[in-house]
Symmetry: C2
Subunit: 223 residues, 2 copies
DNA sequence: GTCTATAAATCGATAGAC
DNA sequence: GTCTATCGATTTATAGAC
């Protein structure tokens, strides 16, 4: 209310941050993005309107156009953030493991991080996953680069496990990866945090994928 | 160009079929549903308009209202068909197996049928899966009954396997089911029929879920 | 930076001719 | 059954006051 109202507002906080204080401009921009992510997640693309987004943060729809050229640019940024935040969390989780961590430990950490970003971290991530296939082609195309990089990260995770002999040699790793990520992405539809915490979910998910659900032979051969 | 132009079109083909010929009325109704399913799948709810749907089959938007009271009723029926066609195919596939078929064989047949319905059968199924969570609450509620019944079918499939000792006793069957269905539902995003046919996909999916991807111990304990 | 006011387009849905 | 014409509501986006 005193210093940082309008005068020497400078630099953004997101990239190559210079100043330390968030400008009011940046704050409002973030609030718009948050509201857009919320609406996108709960109502879906094209069901959301600029007016609805604006109402959530008590501004007028016209004000949004001071920050974003049009609706698609706004949605585009929400989707981008949604995918990047997952990627960042997952990469951080895996890279913070010991260098000699097993493939299973890495996949488990990645699964937990992905699940956490998806369920706890909220609307950006869910908005991306739920809306990607329904969004105009151009927005999809813009989002593809990050998605490919993320897919590659997982691919390397599994291929590392294969090279170390931890994963069966004749298993389809691409299918494994798509099944795992697809399965946990779906969790936004059924997950109930009061039934099972994310830590247990990710542990159990990896148990299913690594060990399988088939019961081991009941009695060993009498050798 | 001669006989079957307009005259004696009669009776519906769908339920409790009486006559053998499809009325023009029913034919147009089906064409509208097809177009709606296509648009719903490729553009998503609320991005589709009655006009777009009408254009796909060369009629005027107003004509749709002769067959459906409003847009939501039309969407509702597309979603219902989408879920029912999967359920029907999967149930048929499982029930056509031998009575002494193993749990794994049943799950494999169910997976193949689900995948086939999803990928071959087309827009109705995908439209349901992709739009369910984004559609207005009332439409969701209408679709829940079929979805619950379908989920129960899978649940029994797995619980049967547990009771027969085929599935590990301490595996979370609910999570297994959700992971499996979620994973293959996601396949509409990545599946390429020229890379791997559905039969191989479903076989490999079941192998991953039943046996796991972990490599077996390389050398047995020297006992 | 945020607002009011409004232009321009599009949507769902209805009325009524044919 | 399908059409044209249109109403009324809502949308994105812009213009300009403050």
């Amino acid at each position: 209310m005193t210093v940082q109202t309008s005068g020497n507002t400078s630099a953004a906080e997101s990239v190559s941050g210079a100043a330390k204080k968030t400008r009011k401009s940046e704050k409002t921009r973030r609030k718009i993005l948050d509201a857009a992510a919320y609406c996108l997640n709960h109502q879906g693309y094209a069901l959301i309107s600029m007016q609805t987004i604006a109402e959530h943060i008590n501004i007028r729809a016209a004000s949004i156009y001071y920050y974003f050229d049009n609706k698609d640019d706004l949605v585009d940024e929400v989707l981008r953030i949604g995918m990047e935040v997952v990627f960042d969390k997952v990469r951080d989780a895996v890279e913070s493991l010991d260098a000699d961590a097993t493939c299973r430990e890495r996949v488990e950490a990645a699964t937990l991080a992905h699940l956490t970003a998806l369920l706890d971290y909220g609307d950006y991530t869910s908005a991306n996953i739920r809306n990607f296939s329904l969004v105009p082609m151009e927005l999809r195309r813009n989002n593809l680069a990050v998605r490919r990089a993320y897919a590659n990260f997982w691919r390397e995770l599994f291929e590392h496990g294969r090279q170390s002999g931890e994963i069966n040699a004749d298993v389809d790793l691409t299918l494994t990866r798509l099944l795992l990520i697809g399965g946990i992405n779906w969790s936004t539809d059924w997950y109930n945090p009061r039934k099972l915490p994310v830590e247990q979910i990710s542990k159990e998910v990896c148990r299913i994928f690594f060990d399988g659900v088939a019961a081991p032979p009941t009695s060993q051969d009498p050798v």
